[in-house]
């Protein structure tokens, strides 16, 4: 009797375990479904092409305009600048930590990178707002420091932990025999790093970069506090921009639930979700390559 009881209990628990196992799929699906569902109602009231191709985001004017081109460009503009800054710096730091630094310095640097990853983005945004923004304004003599450039600097910094720690893993996972071979042929350590280790770990580094960029494009609070939030297509890096994330965060609180404006913010979320889905998929493909 007791045996049957245990059998039934185990059976039930294993069903629950299976359910929890597939929960991740369910949630990804649900998130997509809800964004789609809420976003679709928006396209009943507004044309898809005016949404994707429209330059003007004036949700409160009459008639309202919901063109997200300037927001998408804003997000991409900040992300590309942040990438240009953080990729070289991040990969170089990873090389230094993985290959050159003596153990003590390595430990210190790694803990500092972890420390940086732990600081909440709203705190980084706050510090950036009171230190970096005035500095950029003075340094480049522009009317306001709240610009895409300040935002990109901050985001590059915030992407560092992702890029550094994943690149470092990739660099460390290059087989010893590669290095030994190069050193035995008389290459210096630097030549080995530059010609052998870096190319060999490139897929992993690409994965790290993509993950870092995924984080940058999805970052909300720091961006909202630093980039100035002007919804127009920027003509220079010192122009303020407004990103997709900041638009959702800033406007959702003020909309009437169920209005066109409300649904339009879900439509932006849908676009953002698709962009990050693609970025993560590419990152995952690269990472899978390294593991082999």
């Amino acid at each position: 009797m007791k045996k049957i009881f245990t059998f039934i209990k185990d059976f039930l628990i294993e069903r629950i375990i299976f359910l929890c196992g597939i929960l991740a799929i369910i949630f990804v699906f649900l998130i997509f479904l809800f964004l789609l569902n809420q976003g679709i109602s928006f396209f009943g009231a507004y044309s898809l092409w005016d949404f994707l191709g429209g330059k003007f985001w004036y949700p409160a004017s009459d008639p309202p305009q919901f063109g997200i081109l300037s927001l998408v460009i804003g997000s991409l503009f900040v992300t590309i600048q942040a990438a240009l800054i953080s990729i070289p710096l991040g990969v170089m730091t990873a090389l230094f930590i993985a290959e050159i630094a003596p153990p003590v310095i390595k430990d210190i640097l790694k803990s500092v990178v972890e420390l940086l990853a732990a600081i909440p983005s709203v705190v980084i945004g706050f510090i950036g707002m009171i230190t970096l923004v005035p500095l950029v304004r003075k340094l480049f003599n522009i009317p306001t420091g709240l610009s895409s450039f300040s935002g990109a600097l901050m985001l590059a910094f915030m992407a560092m932990p992702t890029i550094v720690s994943i690149s470092e893993d990739a660099i460390r996972s290059v087989p010893w025999s590669y290095k030994e071979g190069a050193i035995a042929l008389g290459a210096t350590r630097w030549q080995t790093m530059y010609r052998i280790i870096l190319p060999a770990s490139l897929p992993g580094i690409m994965g790290a970069v993509m993950l870092g960029m995924g984080r940058v494009i999805g970052e909300t609070m720091a961006v909202m506090m630093i980039t100035g939030n002007a919804a127009h297509i920027p003509s220079s890096v010192f122009d303020p921009v407004r990103t997709m994330t900041a638009t959702i965060a800033a406007e959702m609180g003020e909309t009437v639930k169920g209005s066109t404006h409300y649904h339009s913010l879900f439509a932006i979320g849908l676009v953002l979700f698709i962009i990050t889905f693609i970025i993560n998929f590419i990152a995952d493909t690269f990472m899978r390559k390294t593991r082999r």
Binding site: D10, I13, E14, I17, C20, G21, I22, A24, I25, F27, V28, I31, L35, N37, Q38, L89, G90, M92, T93, F96, I100, A101, V112, V113, E114, L115, A118, I119, P120, S121, V122, V123, I124, F126, I127, M129, T131, F157, V164, T188, R189, W190, Y194, L211, G218, T220, M221, M225, I248, K257, L265, F266, G269, L272, F273, I279, N280, F281, A283, D284
Partner: protein, 281 residues
């Protein structure tokens, strides 16, 4: 140029670049401590805000954050552990497993503001939970699932296969083996993973913007179905929305938020060292 000199130059350059990452972090911590330390009094931590939040303390924000975070981890931890058990102990190498893994990677990469939107549409409106602690906690619970699953799975994977074999050979069922042998031995890794996710979600702002956080609530929460103040959102509000905010209060709030996160992270580091000495196989 001789290769030796090139190497010297390259190494020095890499060192300098590493400092570019290193120095701003110390600068941030330094500025928070030097300007916020003055605010760290019992009164600031344990009293209500006054004068339109320009005076008094931040107790409701601290309590709100702790409440949201504790609720969310108590939802996410059991679910995440069971999901990891499935992936590590039961799942076969097939298409379903591949899709689960891809979903976990994607869940980890979904921007935090999207979680906010989903939480608003699903928990707040559809399940009719309203803007509340429980809606925010559920939203954050989904967000921390990927990291809990991944860390738990790694620590389950580190439990030697021989442990399982011995138990199974004694006629113990699969689930009993997992519960009595595998999970207890994986506990240190699971615990550190859980604390790390707590540290991470304690500072999250975007997911609770529309699901849990309130601009100003002048009393402590009575139930989980109320909206509450939360430290990260409070910092955002007082640093951007309210003019003439005394510097001491914004820096003090930021410092307390960072301290909360850092204390949790340091606990993890200490636990890791402690367990590394105890568990050797």
């Amino acid at each position: 140029m001789s290769p030796r000199i090139t190497q010297k130059i390259a190494f020095s350059l890499l060192f300098l670049v590493s400092l570019v990452v290193f120095i701003p972090v110390l600068f941030i911590i330094g500025i928070l401590v030097s300007k916020g330390a003055a605010a760290l009094t019992w009164e600031f931590i344990f009293s209500m805000p006054k004068d339109g939040m320009r005076g008094g303390g931040i107790l409701p924000a601290i309590v709100g954050t702790l409440l949201i975070v504790l609720c969310s981890i108590s939802i996410a931890l059991p679910v995440g552990i069971l999901a990891a058990v499935y992936l590590n102990e039961y799942a076969k190498d097939n298409l379903l497993t591949r899709i689960i893994q891809l979903s976990i990677v994607n869940l980890a990469g979904v921007p935090s503001i999207i979680y906010g939107l989903f939480g608003l549409a699903f928990f707040v409106i559809m399940l009719n939970l309203g803007v509340s602690v429980i809606a925010g906690a559920l939203t954050l619970a989904i967000m921390e699932l990927p990291s809990i699953i991944t860390t738990t799975r790694n620590s389950l994977n580190n439990v030697p296969a021989s442990f399982r074999e011995v138990s199974l050979s004694l006629g113990v069922s699969r689930w009993q083996t997992i519960r009595r042998v595998v999970l207890p031995n994986a506990l240190p890794g699971i615990m550190t993973g859980a604390i790390l996710s707590i540290a991470r979600i304690a500072g999250e702002t975007a997911p609770i913007l529309f699901t849990a956080a309130a601009f100003y609530v002048p009393h402590l929460p009575h139930s989980l179905s109320e909206q509450v103040m939360a430290l990260p959102y409070h910092l955002y509000v007082i640093s951007t929305q309210i003019p003439n905010m005394p510097e001491k209060i914004t820096y003090g709030t930021a410092l307390i938020l960072v301290l909360l996160v850092l204390i949790l992270s340091f606990t993890v580091i200490i636990l890791r060292i402690f367990f590394r000495k105890r568990y050797k196989w």
